[in-house]
């Protein structure tokens, strides 16, 4: 499969009065056509900033300071703004967290879909309108011809998210970025929207980046998983490996905090104690060390580097890296 998006050592920083916030600090990953990459992490771990960086929607005081973002053979960070505008919404579609406020309240649903199609494909308005009807039907809006003339406030949250998906896929993008698309929706609607997303992604055979903090969503949707913590990548690998053999202490803790059906009512809810640090002028070393039960001296001295584990994932952890290096030496 061809690689649609490749991100190399991306660093996005925000210059604040209190220091430099390293919102994204050395993230690398790639997504192939037809595959789904889930980026998981707590609030503030840099998931959304990663997505905005790919779309080049970072506004000052934020800035992408280092790294490369390749969309096919295009270096996105080297493109002009107008070239980037042509890509956005056409080749790269994005779906947002809050469907209630992501549509322009003063135009009808139809006008907003038509606008995107006309802007990118240069077709006649009539054709665009026909396509809009088709799209609304595809995302499961009943009576699309009539609902096209409604305003956003006449749609429910779930329906608005369907519309936003319709707009995102209007030009059949080969990369879809969904930033917590179900967070603002209630649970029954969440499942429907996820299924819809999975369906359109299959149909278009596009690459998809799905940002979430819900591990249930990850297990249902992902092919690959990238775990983020305080702006850094922690563990990266395919979904089965990460779920069966989590290696990084943070990933282990994250998976352990899922409530299982076998838990009885009296058993305590498991959590990772402490809070993630805010990465403003972070000191050297692993960002997770203060909450890590396995931390050793080196964790506070050097940044961990990506390490290919024997289980097949990439882990950024001194402890794991040392363990495996020792094992290899023993067996050799």
């Amino acid at each position: 499969m061809e690689t649609v998006l490749k991100v190399e050592k991306l660093e996005t920083q925000f210059k604040l009065r209190t220091g430099v916030l390293k919102a994204v600090d050395g993230i690398s990953f790639e997504v192939e056509a037809g595959r789904v990459l889930c980026i998981v992490g707590e609030s503030g771990s840099g998931k959304s900033v990663t997505a905005q960086s790919i779309m080049r929607l970072i506004d000052p005081p934020g800035r992408i300071v280092a790294g490369k973002i390749w969309y096919r053979n295009l270096d996105l960070l080297a493109l002009s703004e107008s070239a980037m505008e042509k890509l956005r919404g056409d080749r790269i579609g994005m779906i947002f967290q809050d469907p209630m406020t992501s549509l322009n309240p003063v135009f009808t649903i139809g006008e907003q879909i038509v606008e995107t199609i006309v802007a990118h494909q240069g077709v006649k308005k009539k054709e665009a309108r026909a396509r809009a009807v088709e799209l609304l039907r595809l995302v499961g809006i009943a009576e699309p011809e009539r609902r096209l003339n409604d305003y956003p406030h006449q749609y429910s949250g779930g329906m608005r998210q369907r519309v936003l998906i319709a707009i995102a896929i209007a030009c059949e993008p080969d990369l879809l970025i969904a930033d917590e698309p179900t967070t603002a929706l209630d649970v029954t609607i969440q499942a429907q929207i996820l299924k819809l997303l999975a369906d359109v992604q299959k149909q278009l055979q596009s690459a998809m980046i799905l940002i979430t903090h819900d591990l249930g969503v990850v297990s249902a949707m992902a092919d690959e998983v990238l775990v983020m913590y305080a702006g850094r990548m922690v563990e990266y690998g395919d979904v089965a490996t990460i779920f069966r053999h989590p290696r990084h202490p943070y990933t282990v803790g994250l998976l352990d905090s899922i409530i299982k059906l076998s838990d009885n009512r009296d058993s305590e809810l498991r959590s990772i104690s402490g809070l993630p640090p805010v990465p403003i002028d972070p000191p050297p070393g692993c960002a997770f060390r203060d909450r890590c039960s396995r931390a050793i001296a080196i964790c506070g001295e050097q940044d961990p580097q990506p390490y290919n584990t024997k289980t097949g994932s990439i882990v950024l952890c001194h402890v794991i890296a040392q363990e495996e290096t020792d094992e290899r030496q023993v067996s050799a």
């Binding site: 042509k86 006309v118 308005k125």
Partner: protein, 309 residues
């Protein structure tokens, strides 16, 4: 699924699509206006106020033909009360017919209330959008320059303008326009900044919309409602401010009159001839109120969420 799309449509196609987009915009605008008119028509207070204003404007225009007397001629006993033979609304302290003066004064008052407000709003929308949307040093420059204008009272501004031009209606209009721009610009800028932070702006950018599209189709229509309401309430206020300037000798020269001057002239004889103040005062209140009602109606009509189907 086409992968060649990344190259974008050909030059010809793109030009066609731009023309298409313009036509589409025009069409949407016409339809929005039609819809807005229907919504406006349902608001009885607004429609009533609009009809009233149209009548007032017509009467003012027709003043030379329908006014019973020359507004500057003394035609009755000084301070004659309302209902006196020949002068229905009475006479002022110089014996001039109040009805005639109201009719003629409307021409000036409406001009002074309406023209500067509309002109200032147009200028302010442009400045405020630029300052609020672009931000940075452009924002700083625009807003700090306007702060300097803020520092001068309207009256001082009018004296400056009157020093350059002749005192008269034009002076008042220009002075008030300049004086209003900073106030409305502040509102426009604040609203623009808050609209700019709405998720639908980011969504629009993610959909590939450029700055012109975002400003005209996303920011402007979502920012306009409070500005329209504010501007329409200013119209009545400016009628009074304008007469204040005239009172100082910077605007309309006696014996011509607008409503505001009539009020201030009548003030001196408030106890003896209250009608000389009451009638022009009442007219100002009612006309200002009518403008506010029209403003509210406009706001609701332009907001799809408030449109009753």
């Amino acid at each position: 699924m086409s992968t060649s799309g990344s190259a974008g449509p050909g030059q010809d196609e793109r030009r066609r699509s731009a023309a298409e987009l313009r036509r589409e915009n025009l069409h949407i605008m016409m339809r929005t206006l039609t819809l807005a008119w229907h919504a406006f028509a349902k608001d009885r207070a607004a429609v009533g106020a609009l009809i009233f204003l149209v009548v007032v404007v017509l009467i003012s225009i027709l003043a030379p033909y329908i006014s019973p007397y020359d507004p500057t001629d003394a035609v009755a006993k000084r301070g004659a009360p309302p209902g006196t033979e020949g002068v229905i609304l009475g006479a002022d302290l110089d014996g001039r017919d109040i009805l005639s003066r109201l009719l003629w004064g409307g021409r000036i008052s409406i001009l002074i209330g309406f023209v500067p407000t509309v002109a200032a709003t147009a200028i302010a929308v442009f400045l405020g959008l630029v300052a609020g949307y672009i931000g940075g040093w452009i924002d700083q420059v625009i807003m700090r320059v306007l702060d300097i204008f803020f520092a001068f009272p309207l009256v001082l501004m009018a004296i400056v303008v009157a020093g350059i031009l002749e005192p008269g209606v034009a002076t008042v209009i220009i002075a008030i326009t300049i004086g209003l721009v900073p106030y409305i610009t502040r509102l426009v800028r604040t609203t623009t900044v808050s609209v700019k932070q709405q998720p639908y702006i980011e969504a629009a950018r993610a959909g590939g919309a450029g700055v012109p599209t975002i400003v005209t189709r996303y920011v402007l229509p979502n920012m306009l409602a409070p500005v329209i309401v504010y501007a329409t309430t200013l119209i009545g206020l400016m009628m009074v401010v304008g007469s204040g300037l005239s009172f100082l000798g910077l605007g309309v020269q006696p014996p011509d009159a607008d409503w505001g001057i009539m009020v201030s002239e009548g003030r001196a004889v408030l106890k003896k001839a209250p009608h000389a103040t009451a009638f022009p005062g009442l007219v100002i209140v009612v006309v200002s109120l009518a403008f506010s009602f029209v403003g509210d109606g406009l706001r609701d009509a332009l907001d799809p969420r408030a449109r009753v189907r």
